[in-house]
């Protein structure tokens, strides 16, 4: 008789039938079943094949530790392998498949390995596949991997969605058995914020599986009443199906919530739980016994067998044997006898406590016996018991075998920070290490095995956790409890049955036997860490949850040591496997990292731009037209047009930093190589910054806008690094200086108009005298456009042509760019992208970060004159004077032109003298940048060449072994085009001025899900001015006073800096005027640099928790509170405007990306 279902009883709902399939066959189970219990109810006890010998396997421990019943769930793209059938809740239409068998689970060709097992012992791979080495990768490894293994993942992109959330609590309780429930209840009643996690679908732990009484209630009834009280408490969060998988630094715990089959929302959610205290109440695993054939389907732990009978009404057969070394076996016997089964109880102890005998009354008792072997094939058919005293053997026919070998407390999470569990010889268990970082252990996890003790331990630890945090827990009033064997808990340790004849498995998942461990010891691999690797015991997905303690005991016996002398291997997260998808959360595909969009993104898109990722930005690479097919045709056309007439491009991605404060000039002198303090108001200067070691950090411009007001530009690539560097200088190196730095990159759309006709084009848009006299090279002016818009105009060039950069507030960027295009039509204006920009700068020998590569000095790049000799100090000054950085034979910037102009020269190629053998010694330098110059009709390149400036005219070889190219090149000046190609073009007639349309704030929520019924809604807040008020740190009070005058809410960024929001429709000037800020405070307009969203509704805080670690508990983050934080990877200012109402202020170039993330989280609410 095989496994089946009792006709009554259990916690299943027999009115709800659930259909599922296993290996293509249709079955039915009930609500309340796991996949494993439903299979057993259908008589399926063979659930998998073992890793190495392909032995038939069934359910063994049934919980998180289940080593055998591994299945693949789902099909097609959603295949998820290696799931424990015992942890998969049954749901309609579930598709499950067994693993590691071919052609079928019942007939598996790989089972021949079992016959070959004498040759497949521990260390078999290492010994057998040593020669020839070349065959390892080609033949042995693929063959072994195919034969031995677990399930296969889907190779298709995962269509499921995942989410990550932060949670904050006073007390985290891990496990909801009797100890966990009472711990949570005690802490919650004291007023603590509690999170209770359980990895099963129901709360209660053993209360749902064992027949116990607490007060007037049975186990499930008691659990339900506690859960009901916890559910009603708003300070408690209950997370079922949630495995706490790791203990991390500073009281952070990782957990994964499995929501498969929930219908809507993410399939899985990773929680990062910040807990001031934690109570680990994870219980204990029942220890398997090690005897021959202990892996046959139908052999399982005693607690699993009775749990299945009690909770899912699983009938293991007509006649079962129980192999016991302690009370758990007698408890199982009691429960099965009560269900009318015939039970043979084989107890290794000669003397058995009377309470246990009383419990198992009715069983056929074989005291002082052990089970030497389980008999049968794909299912147990009998056992061979041995009288330990006489050696007499007898065979008994049974349908299933339960084993109760004692308990292993689940101490993993208490050991993840590096501590090891402690062996307790009296109880025969490894107990948790000394407490640390606020993690306490309660109940069976602490080695307390009786129900009354667990309740008491839970109450004590829950109370202690709460009182350590200042709460006043009431002493727990625990009801009396009753359980089998009167709470007798001790067991006898039996590491393995010496009388066994068949294979006796220690590690089921890796097919490690007692003999393998003995072999490891004999061959010198007896150390616990060596034995693990030699035999693979304790590896794979279950990481030895069931096997490690037995393995340690057996190693100890073999080596003549005690288990504590052998010790344990290292415990590390993850407690159970977590899918990569869950850990990645939303950060995959397009959202792998945030995307920044320039304020001109839409404009470029409209004009057909092809975009490429450049750092965080999407940048226009080129603007193909008409018949143009590749990027090169477009690039050549754009380049020629700029030098011949005029082009327009987007420079908005350059880093822009607003610098103010009375020591601003002094500060600039300290961070730039040149003397910036002499710069006149209304002028810009090119500047270099060094690292303190004297090498170049970045280049850019400094414009003086006022007495103590500057605008700094950095390269796009180094913008973040440059800002952090300047902040470091201002805050950590020279805190006595009064300087304020504000990123204004997002505030301005910066439009480059370059080419000999650029002045004529801009004249039509800008309402100001921009003649050579009024606007000479490096002039900076505040101007008005014909539309009346205030803007900044810079006479700066990165193309070597007459050129201007026009900066307008970001929202007006697209309209102004459109107006410039219109104005440029008579001159044949073209939009140009990054590719043309690169050609234009290489033709002129201008540098980028291809040349500023962390190894070059200003002198190397021919910019030695930009290093002031008149300053007493600047970053990098001293180290730049090092002999090594001043040597004459350093590599210097040169140009290269191939002798055959059509030949390619690619960046990265090395320079050699003709005939030289490539070697480090003969290396002359390398190519940094190259392009096709349509003006010279030739490939050109920039390179770093030893003593390069002396070597113009020399012929060298560019050696490019990666691409197999060798090119003869002539060294030249890095400036390929000397003077501008053309004189400035004067218009042949007067063209009418053009007024740009007014730009409006873009709708950033277009096309997104912005609400989930009445639970949460996301809106873009109306346009209102935003001002950064900044002063020295010491003036924080004055800053806050001024900030309060905005809309009444102070959005503090840092001491001495606050963001102020004005009224909707109010202009920046009006806001600035009414702040009444004293003259020594800076007011920086960020109205276009920030976008404000409102997130409101009861789920708003939950959505925020998917993005930020800020604890928005209403007591800690009150209305009016404001904090700068990260949402995902995007910086924001988060402000609470009301109970369920938050303002999220984001950098405008990140705003759409952020809106997409928030929208996704809202959509996942369902």
């Amino acid at each position: 008789m095989s496994f089946s279902r009792f006709s009554d009883g259990g916690l299943i709902d027999r009115s709800r039938r659930i259909g599922f399939s296993f290996d293509g066959k249709r079955f039915e189970g009930y609500a309340g079943d796991t996949l494993a219990s439903a299979l057993l109810a259908n008589g399926v006890s063979l659930m998998g094949r073992s890793f190495k010998y392909h032995r038939p396997r069934g359910l063994l421990s049934g919980g998180a530790s289940e080593p055998n019943a591994l299945v693949t769930i789902g099909d097609g793209e959603t295949r998820e392998p290696n799931l424990r059938a015992s942890m998969v809740g049954l749901r309609e239409g579930l598709v499950a498949e067994s693993q590691n068998r071919w052609p079928s689970l019942g007939f598996d060709v790989g089972a021949v390995n079992s016959a070959l097992s004498p040759f497949l012992g521990a260390g078999f791979y290492y010994k057998t596949f040593m020669w020839p080495a070349a065959l390892w990768e080609k033949l042995y490894e693929p063959a072994i991997r195919k034969a031995a293994g677990l399930g296969r993942a889907s190779h298709a992109p995962d269509p499921q969605e995942y989410e990550k959330r932060w949670a904050h609590c006073d007390v985290l309780v891990i496990g909801s058995g009797p100890a966990g429930l009472i711990a949570a209840l005690t802490a919650a009643r004291a007023g603590a914020r509690v999170v209770l996690c359980d990895e099963n679908s129901g709360f209660g732990g053993r209360l749902l599986k064992d027949r116990v009484e607490i007060g007037d209630a049975d186990g499930p009834g008691f659990a339900a009443s506690v859960i009901a009280e916890l559910e009603a408490n708003p300070n408690v969060r209950l997370l079922s199906n949630t495995t706490v998988f790791g203990t991390y630094d500073s009281g952070v715990y990782g957990a994964v919530e499995r929501r498969d089959g929930a219908g809507s929302g993410p399939a899985q959610r990773v929680w990062r739980i910040v807990a001031k205290r934690a109570v680990l109440a994870a219980g204990a695993e029942e220890r398997p016994l090690v005897f021959g054939g202990n892996d046959r389907p139908g052999v399982m732990t005693a607690s699993l067998m009775r749990g299945l009978a009690n909770a899912q009404a699983i009938r293991p057969g007509d006649h079962v044997a129980v192999f016991a070394t302690g009370p758990s076996g007698h408890e199982s016997a009691r429960d099965l006898i009560a269900r009318g089964l015939e039970v043979t109880l084989v107890d290794a102890r000669a003397e058995i406590p009377a309470v246990e005998l009383a419990a198992s009354d009715g069983a056929r008792l074989l005291a002082g016996h052990v089970v030497a072997d389980a008999l049968g094939g794909k299912a147990v058919s009998g056992v061979e018991a041995v009288n330990r005293a006489s050696g007499e053997r007898l065979r008994i026919g049974v349908d299933a075998l339960a084993m109760a070998g004692g308990w292993n407390p689940v101490v993993h999470l208490a050991c993840h920070r590096g501590d090891r569990p402690v062996w307790n010889a009296d109880s025969g268990m490894f107990l948790p290490p000394k407490e640390r970082d606020g993690l306490m252990v309660a109940g069976s996890a602490a080695g307390v095995l009786d129900l009354a003790g667990c309740l008491k331990s839970g109450a004590e630890q829950g109370a202690r956790a709460a009182s350590e945090l200042g709460f006043k827990p009431k002493p727990a009033d625990l009801p009396a409890s009753r359980e089998a064997c009167g709470g007798s808990a001790g067991f006898t340790t039996l590491w393995h049955v010496a009388e066994a004849r068949g294979k006796a498995f220690v590690d089921f998942q890796n097919d490690v036997t007692v003999a393998d461990l003995g072999l490891a010891v004999r061959e010198g691999y007896g150390h616990v860490e060596l034995a693990k690797r030699y035999t693979t015991t304790g590896m794979a997905t279950d990481q030895g949850k069931l096997s490690n303690v037995n393995a340690i005991g057996i190693l100890a016996e073999n080596r003549g040591l005690t288990p504590d002398q052998v010790g344990t291997t290292t415990f590390r997260p993850f407690y159970t496997p977590v899918s990569i998808g869950a850990l990645a959360g939303e950060h995959r595909g397009a959202h792998y990292r945030p995307v920044r969009r320039s304020p001109l993104h839409g404009w470029a898109e409209k004009h057909g731009a092809v975009f490429i990722e450049a750092g965080a930005w999407m940048r226009a690479s080129h603007f193909p037209q008409g018949e143009e097919t590749g990027w090169k045709q477009a690039c050549d056309r754009e380049t020629l047009a700029v030098r011949a007439s005029v082009g327009i491009s987007d420079a908005s991605t350059l880093g822009k930093i607003d610098l103010s404060g009375k020591d601003a000039a002094r500060f600039l002198d300290l961070i730039y190589t040149g003397k910036m303090s002499t710069l006149a108001i209304g002028k810009a200067r090119y500047g270099l910054t060094l690292r303190e070691d004297g090498l170049l950090m970045d280049d850019g411009t400094v414009s003086r806008l006022g007495e103590n007001h500057y605008l700094i530009t950095t390269t796009t690539a180094a913008a973040g690094e440059a800002m952090a560097h300047m902040e470091f200088c201002a805050q950590a190196l020279w805190p006595e200086l009064d300087v304020r730095l504000a990123s204004v990159t997002d505030q301005w759309a910066q439009i480059t108009v370059a080419g000999p006709a650029s002045r004529e084009v801009l004249k039509r848009v800008v309402d100001a005298d921009i003649s050579e006299a009024a606007m000479p090279f490096l002039a900076v002016r505040e101007v008005r456009l014909h539309s009346g818009l205030a803007a900044r105009l810079f006479r700066i060039s990165f193309s070597g042509e007459l050129a201007f950069e026009l900066a307008v507030p970001a929202r007006h960027g697209e309209a102004v760019a459109e107006a410039i295009l219109e104005a440029g039509k008579p001159f044949g204006i073209v939009p140009y992208g990054l590719e043309a920009l690169n050609v234009l700068r290489i033709e002129k020998g201008f540098i980028t970060h291809a040349e500023i590569d962390g190894r070059t000095t200003p002198g190397d790049l021919g910019l030695g004159k930009m290093v002031s000799g008149k300053k007493d100090d600047f970053i990098g000054q001293v180290m730049l004077s090092r002999e090594g950085l001043q040597r004459a034979d350093r590599e210097q910037l040169v140009g290269l032109v191939p002798l055959n102009p059509a030949q390619r020269v690619l960046a990265g190629g090395h320079l050699l003298e003709p005939g030289a053998v490539p070697s480090m010694a003969s290396d002359q330098g390398h190519v940094t940048s190259s392009c096709w110059s349509p003006h010279l009709n030739s490939t050109i390149a920039l390179a770093m060449l030893k003593r390069g400036r002396e070597r113009h005219g020399e012929v060298l070889i560019v050696w490019d072994p990666l691409r197999g190219i060798e090119t003869e090149v002539r060294v030249s000046s890095p400036v390929f085009l000397e003077a501008p190609e053309e004189e400035p073009i004067a218009a042949v007639r007067e063209y009418a001025p053009i007024a740009a349309r007014d730009g409006g704030a873009p709708d950033l929520l277009d096309g997104l899900t912005v609400s989930a019924s009445d639970r949460v809604s996301l809106t873009q807040l109306p346009d209102a001015p935003v001002c950064l008020v900044a002063g020295p740190m010491a003036k924080d009070a004055a800053v806050r006073r001024a900030a309060k005058a905005g809309d009444g809410t102070i959005r503090t960024v840092q001491p001495g800096q606050a963001l102020v929001v004005g009224e909707a429709g109010e202009g920046f000037a009006a806001l600035a005027a009414r702040l009444g800020a004293s003259a020594d405070l800076s007011l920086c307009d960020l109205s276009d640099a920030r976008v404000r969203f409102s997130l409101s509704g009861p789920e708003a805080a939950g959505i925020i928790a998917t993005q930020s670690a800020v604890d928005t508990d209403a007591k800690l983050f009150k209305t009016g509170a404001s904090a700068p934080t990260l949402f995902g990877h995007v910086p924001v200012q988060l402000t609470r405007l009301g109970k369920d109402d938050f303002e999220i202020m984001a950098f405008s170039t990140y705003a759409r990306d952020l809106a997409e993330s928030l929208s996704r989280a809202i959509r996942l609410l369902g």
Binding site: S250, R272, R417, F728, A732, V878, M1033, P1055, P1124
Partner: protein, 114 residues
């Protein structure tokens, strides 16, 4: 998953909001200082196993530079102060030299990596 750092301005935040720079001990020498002092400032760092003070920026928050006193062995954070206050306090001390980080007292024995 995370470590937490308590920003003196923003409160408890995960380390993902911060960017580490390195040892906060070395003090920038005067421009006229001996070359050896500059060499030490730029190039020489102790490889501390134990408690040391480091510069971290709360780059994903207030953007202030901080001095985090941290145990490199077990990641315990002992104190966090604003870098400006730290610099001014160091400057106030005679000699204007921050004490080099003391050799570490390890919290416990080393752990092997499997």
């Amino acid at each position: 998953m995370a470590s937490l750092i308590t920003c003196p301005h923003c409160g408890v935040r995960p380390k993902e909001e911060f960017t580490i720079r390195g040892d906060a001990g070395p003090v920038r020498p005067a421009p006229e200082a001996k070359f050896a002092a500059w060499d030490a400032y730029v190039h020489l760092r102790d490889n501390v196993r134990g408690v040391m003070k480091e510069h971290w920026q709360h780059s994903g928050g207030c953007r202030r530079w901080l001095v985090v006193e941290r145990d490199t062995f077990n990641h315990a954070v002992h104190s966090v102060v604003d870098a400006a206050e730290f610099a001014q306090a160091s400057a106030a001390k005679p000699g204007r030299k921050a004490a080099p980080a003391k050799p570490a007292k390890a919290a416990s024995k080393g752990r092997g990596k499997a």
